[in-house]
Symmetry: C3
Subunit: 280 residues, 3 copies
């Protein structure tokens, strides 16, 4: 095994090991989520989780997608860091039905990932991980978030789909529905709101806190930023309908994130999305 002083590069040359078996569905979700932002990525089979972290070339979005080691039927890993053509891997894993088992094992000498689906073994040539765009220094935005709202994925999708009809960006925020004046006290209804303004039409989507599973806002905080719909609508395509998704928002012009569980909570996809600088 590589010494603690070994660089990541050494880790791929060293006899890294990875051998795992898991149901197809959580793996497909994680791969589809990563494919929203990148064609190639680094897969990191860490001791406690199978993880993909990736960002698009413009670094507007970041995806962090994991399946817990506990969700695997078999999970053995040691020092592996795999450069993967996501399109091809997703196509092979996509041949399995959702509850079929999929096997993944690293052939370090031939630099291939063997993907097993039933009687099929697909040997996927790995990409040099150093040729894959590395993550920029990811700032942890957790402390910037002032609001956390959990709602049904299908509800959020309807708002995003409608916003796409009229514009290429959308304002997302949390507000008190009854205005700031007479009724804006502590008993006013709070609402997660998406607003998009097109040249002629506009969209206003608001989910009251009573229809949300979680609705937490820091006292006195305001959350409202403008986001690119070209990114958000792609992220929206992998958000599961009928299952909860959590949106976290910050003060003006801070990123948002969007998170949902994989399978039965044995994994998680989190998208972070940088704000657009608002117009005007």
């Amino acid at each position: 095994m590589s010494q603690p002083t070994a660089t990541d590069r050494d880790a791929t040359v060293q006899p890294a090991a990875f051998d795992a078996t898991v149901e197809a569905e959580p793996l497909q979700t994680v791969l589809d989520a990563a494919a929203v932002l990148v064609d190639e990525c680094i897969v990191r089979p860490e001791p406690d989780e199978f993880r993909i972290v990736a960002t698009d070339p413009a670094t507007v979005g970041i995806v962090d997608a994991t399946v817990d080691a506990a969700a695997f039927e078999r999970y053995e890993t040691s020092g592996a860091r795999l450069g993967v053509d996501l399109t091809r891997l997703a196509a092979v894993v996509g041949m399995a039905d959702g509850d079929d088992l999929v096997g993944l094992s690293l052939d370090p000498e031939r630099r291939r990932l063997e993907v097993r689906v039933g009687d099929l073994v697909y040997a996927l040539a790995l990409v040099d991980p150093d040729a894959v765009r590395s993550l920029p220094d990811v700032v942890d935005f957790s402390e910037h978030f002032v609001a956390r709202v959990q709602l049904d994925g299908g509800m959020l999708s309807r708002g995003v789909d409608a916003a796409v009809m009229v514009s290429n960006h959308v304002e997302i925020g949390v507000e008190k529905a009854d205005g700031d004046g007479e009724n804006g006290g502590s008993d006013a209804v709070r609402t997660l709101r998406l607003r998009a303004e097109g040249d002629t039409d506009s969209v206003d989507f608001g989910v009251d806190e009573g229809d949300c599973g979680v609705f937490e806002v820091d006292a006195g905080a305001e959350a409202r930023s403008l986001f690119s719909l070209s990114y958000l609508s792609e992220m929206n395509r992998v958000v599961p309908s009928g299952r909860p998704v959590t949106v976290r928002l910050g003060e003006q012009e801070t990123p948002m994130d969007l998170a949902f569980d994989v399978a039965d909570g044995e994994g998680r996809v989190t998208f972070a999305l940088a704000p657009r600088i608002s117009r005007g």
Copy 2:
């Protein structure tokens, strides 16, 4: 409210009002039917029914589509005449599931129609109704019809779909199946017949009266005309399979019409189609 002497133009400037709530399905049917012929149309929320009447640029087809006021959960209207981009309105209403409630309300000052689907409000900019092609003087053909046949929408669709395979026009008529000679008496079987002749292949589709819900022909009358399949096949796409559709035909070279109920009879779509001048 506008005086009886007010022109239609005044009606849209006056504080016209429209506020209504209805299940998505009948509204979608009416919008889809209108979209067969036009991209923009005038919507007339009359006191007793929500109605769209429109004709294509060549005035070959006319659609008259209504949902009764009684089918609405809420229906308040006064002097409204709305110029609507049908494509955009149909897309928004199409986001609702069939039994979701859809709200429509006119914002007369901003000249917008607010469409509510769940937590979503889509503000649709209205088109100047005077810029929408107005209906030509519509002649009432009722007195010209000599035959009225009701059959399952899916049966009619099969005939139209087959005719499209061989030609761009189809002859539709009612005839006595056993010929005019020896057996053409009152006990001969009558048939609704579609015939299309292609360069090499031909289609002959005949539904006997015993397979039709209604089969009425004026004594001694003949009904047979030639129609454009480019129009009829588009109309055919919104005809419901498994539910009755009524075809009315006139003497040679008169229009036909095609009518079916919306939802549970709380509305109706009627297409009228002018005949082609027959060849030869």
Copy 3:
């Protein structure tokens, strides 16, 4: 009826007869199978079976597809040999649901095949059978086959679909899974194997004899040849999933064939596929 000395050409000029009724599903299967290789074909309604035999222009593949006369509700034939535009016939028969009855009858004077689906009669102009590419002298390869393996159609499809991802040809053979050396005796597990090598990725698909319904290999024989995936993947599209398909293989560089039952065994589709000359 034509004398035994009459040529085939005479048979189409003579008052040949064909009148038959059958459920749509077996007929659709046979037409879809033939359409894998040709656009036009000769249909031969023989006394005991309705049969299409055809080969593609390059004569790489041959299809032999039949429905037994016993599967028909009505089957009367005499000397008919029909040149058929397969695309058009398949489109008409495809309008029927699987268990709808489809009628076929030859109108020899007008050289048309009347296709009846419910209330629809589609008159399909026949092609001069002498203008349809005739079959080359077909060699019977039965004696060349050394292996016969029956497996689920869906399993085979997965192997073919994966091979297409990496290459345009695939090696198919039967082998002993435990190698030729220490364990290659009579108790070694035998496997049907598909292998495809791409520029970077490779596919290895192996079904053990225990997962096959039939697994017969001539003693001491080797079966392994290279086949074009452009042909095999098209054939694969009509192979039924969830039902058995039989693969027969010969020694190196001999054809393979692929056969499956139509409906409940009342017909059969057999594809023969010539090998590619292997590289290197």
